[in-house]
């Protein structure tokens, strides 16, 4: 069933239109890193604008904006935070965490030769690539890229003659770009679910799969279910913009009465909340995996973690209302969503319990992936707990649309998932590219990123508690925000330092691609199947189809003799235990 392999595939078939899941993973990785770089630069510009709102931008200011003699005009700032959010969520994190890790890891960890539908897999990358091109093109369209926020709320995004004149074609390009990214996620989701369900090798029962594969499997389910809903909402906005229909147009602006902007907010956040769990689920799986590998100890409560992930997949689809507490939603509905949202902290606390219990009495090896994994546990604890503030109706009405919310989701998204990206890249780099990354440089990069990350995002929450609104380009004009300007400047310089620290990772990554030390087959001495495949794995992944005899985390098991790890498909030990 896997792709037919002609004897000597040429350059095009191996590198460009390859149907090999490992090559597609690398393509997703490089696309994701490219957009991570761009959206990261936008973040630096945003923070520097907030640090010095009325200062002239150094060097390029005069050239870019002669009419405001170097000062950043508001529409550029609006474009910055819109594209920072949209590119990060749909074109940086999704390709790396779900595209690259998912494509590379799922077939290898379940012992399959390739994905269920290789051609669909290749198409899913190229549809994401086209989406990326459309988003990049939207910068060069007259009036520039979209400026309605990554949430593109209804009446602002859906009416083209609204008085802020800058809503030119950029918003339409944005809608098309996101539609492409959504289709790509949908195609990828179908592929992942069928591969996990039908292509596991002999003996690989569902409850013997590593936690990373579980995370990616649940992500695929949420993707398949909820991406079409936001596609429907975005098509309605597109039709409102282009053909003048009135789904979300109300009040004086609507030519025909009947539309409701609140419907867009419900449709968007109906997808929005599962989307943020789509991005974090693979990282949860990765953390469970890494903590067990580098504590040389089986993952504590494997089944409890899997069932908690399943509970969160179900719960995440019924709590979208906590994004709408201030939006004119029925307050009774608000009470219901408060109680539904706080139940999510039960499965999350079980994650933390299992992570800490895995570390308990373990032989900790502080390798780079382990450092990042511990970093994730730290930042996600802050991120998860501050989520509680936003779940409370009365408190959320105060902190909604302030930097407190921005700080919260940057802790869960920009910190935890970013560390997940670094952990995944460091952990699978030897297997993906056959070379090792420089360990010392990675540890320095971890420490710097960890420090500056916390500087920026914690002060975001501090400033947000003081009522500092988000998405405003010039906070100094508000008297009640005047004394937060010193914090904004502090955040500006910490972001500069954070960006500088990423050069270390970029250098480490691209240098080791060609000049890293040759990697052995199992550098981290882990048990999962991808480490029993040769490095770098050939087209069919495994020389002979593996036969799994035990769970993925049999470290220090009595059967493994003097070595403290026992490969999943190691026939040596007779007793096929759990």
């Amino acid at each position: 069933m896997s792709g037919d392999v002609d004897p000597k595939p040429g350059f095009i078939r191996t590198y460009v239109f390859s149907t090999d899941h490992k090559m597609i993973a690398k393509q997703y990785l490089f696309l994701g890193i490219f957009y991570l770089l761009i959206a990261g630069l936008f973040a630096v510009q945003i923070r520097m604008q907030l640090a010095h709102p009325d200062a002239e931008a150094p060097l390029i200011g005069k050239a870019l904006w002669p009419q405001t003699d170097g000062k950043m005009p508001p529409e550029f700032y609006n474009m910055l935070f819109t594209m920072h959010g949209s590119l990060m969520v749909f074109f940086a994190i999704t390709p790396i965490v779900i595209g690259a890790f998912g494509n590379f890891v799922i077939p290898l960890q379940i012992g399959a030769k390739d994905m269920a539908f290789p051609i669909l897999n290749m198409l899913s990358f190229w549809v994401m690539f086209i989406g990326g091109i459309v988003m990049a093109a939207s910068f060069f369209v007259p009036h520039g890229a979209a400026t309605a926020g990554w949430t593109a709320y209804a009446s602002l995004s859906s009416s083209s003659e609204v008085t802020s004149p800058i809503l030119g074609h950029g918003q339409t390009f944005w809608l098309l770009g996101i539609a492409f990214a959504g289709t790509s996620s949908l195609m990828g989701g179908i592929n992942y679910i069928v591969t996990v369900l039908n292509f596991r090798c002999r003996g690989m029962k569902l409850l013997r799969m590593p936690l990373t594969t579980w995370g990616l499997f649940f992500t695929a389910i949420l993707n398949v279910l909820w991406v079409p809903v936001v596609a429907a909402a975005l098509f309605m906005v597109l039709v409102d913009r282009l053909f003048g229909t009135s789904f979300f147009m109300a009040g004086p602006l609507a030519s025909v009465e009947g539309g409701q902007p609140l419907l867009y907010q419900h449709l968007f956040w109906g997808f929005g909340h599962p989307e943020v769990y789509i991005l974090i689920l693979p990282v949860w799986g990765l953390v469970g995996d890494l903590l067990s590998v580098f504590s040389r100890k089986p993952a504590f409560g494997y089944k409890a973690t899997v069932y908690s992930m399943a509970t969160i997949v179900i719960l995440s689809q019924i709590v979208w209302g906590h994004h709408l507490f201030t939006s004119g939603m029925n307050p009774l509905l608000g009470h219901v969503f408060v109680f539904l949202t706080i139940t999510i902290s039960v499965p999350t606390s079980i994650f933390f319990l299992n992570w800490l219990a895995t570390l308990w009495r373990g032989a900790i090896r502080l390798t780079e992936p382990m450092l990042y994994a511990l970093g994730i546990v730290f930042v996600f604890c802050i991120g998860g707990l501050t989520g509680l503030f936003n779940a409370l109706q009365a408190l959320d009405i105060y902190v909604h649309d302030t930097y407190f919310v921005v700080g919260h989701f940057h802790y869960t998204l920009a910190a935890s998932v970013l560390f997940g990206v670094f952990a995944g890249i460091h952990y699978w780099f030897p297997k993906m590219f056959g070379r090792n990354m420089n360990a010392r440089m990675a540890k320095v990069h971890f420490c710097l990123t960890f420090i500056f990350l916390n500087c920026v995002f914690f002060s975001m929450m501090y400033v947000g508690a003081g009522g500092h609104m988000r998405r405003i380009s010039d906070p100094t004009t508000y008297t009640f925000l005047k004394d937060f300007q010193v914090w904004n400047r502090f955040m500006g310089y910490s972001t500069l330092a954070l960006a500088a620290a990423q050069l270390l990772f970029a250098w480490n990554f691209f240098h080791s691609l060609f000049f890293g030390k040759k990697a052995q087959q199992n550098p981290w001495q882990a048990n999962t199947l991808e480490w029993s495949a040769p490095t770098p794995p050939p087209h069919g992944n495994f020389l002979s189809p593996p036969k799994v005899a035990r769970g993925p985390y049999e470290f220090n098991s009595p059967l493994s003799g003097d070595r403290d790890w026992l490969m999943q498909d190691d026939p040596a030990a007779t007793a096929s235990d759990s």
Binding site: F117, I190, N198, L225, V227, P228, V229, G244, T245, L267
Partner: protein, 197 residues
């Protein structure tokens, strides 16, 4: 998750026994269910929420739409007969039924486009009212899905002509059939909720 199947027992635990392409198509149909939940759901909710909703029979030619529904149900029938034919290995009958399905599908589209032109002619357009927006948007998207189905059916017809399908290997026909029946099912719901009530 255990499905009784004829796969060798060792793989018993590690595959659901359901044919992969059929499983993939059903997952795609689950996402289509969510897509049409988004669309038709919004229509239902908007309609119940707005107090001035025109009576559809004023604007729509219900008889033409009824014929259209009948055409689509016939195409579903011919698809099923084609599928039963190939499951007994009869390739010639499969190509015949596939041809009928494609012809019926195109007549459905032709009737729909003619209906659109007629209605726009007596100015019931997409911007004339929220009902107009919903009607054209929903039936338009459904029409796109039917067009996509016809393109796939043509591909399947070409493969059937080349004899690529046999008694034991006809996944592609089965999946296209599933998709076609789903599109027919959506039209059945749309016809009742959008056009008649």
């Amino acid at each position: 998750m255990e499905a009784t199947s004829s796969i060798d027992p060792e793989l018993e635990f590690t595959s659901t026994g359901v044919n992969s392409s059929k499983l993939g198509m059903w997952i795609f149909l689950a996402s289509e269910v969510m897509f049409f939940t988004g669309l038709i759901g919004s229509y239902i909710v908007l309609r119940l929420g707005s107090d001035t909703w025109p009576d559809p029979s004023q604007h729509l030619a219900t008889s033409v739409l009824a014929i259209n529904t009948f055409v689509l149900i016939c195409s579903s029938l011919s698809m099923v007969l084609g599928l039963q034919a190939i499951s007994q290995g009869d390739q010639k009958k499969l190509t015949k039924y596939l041809l009928i399905t494609i012809l019926l599908g195109t007549t459905f589209l032709v009737i729909k486009v003619a209906d659109y032109v007629h209605m726009i002619h007596n100015n019931f357009t997409i911007t004339s009212s929220l009902f107009g927006s919903c009607y054209y948007f929903l039936t338009g998207f459904h029409g796109l899905h039917v067009a996509g189905g016809i393109v796939t059916l043509v591909v399947v017809l070409i493969m059937a002509k080349k004899g690529r399908f046999s008694k034991s290997h006809y996944d592609m026909v089965e999946c296209t059939g599933l998709y076609w029946h789903f599109v027919d099912l959506v039209w059945i719901i749309l016809f009742a909720i959008l056009c008649l009530v």
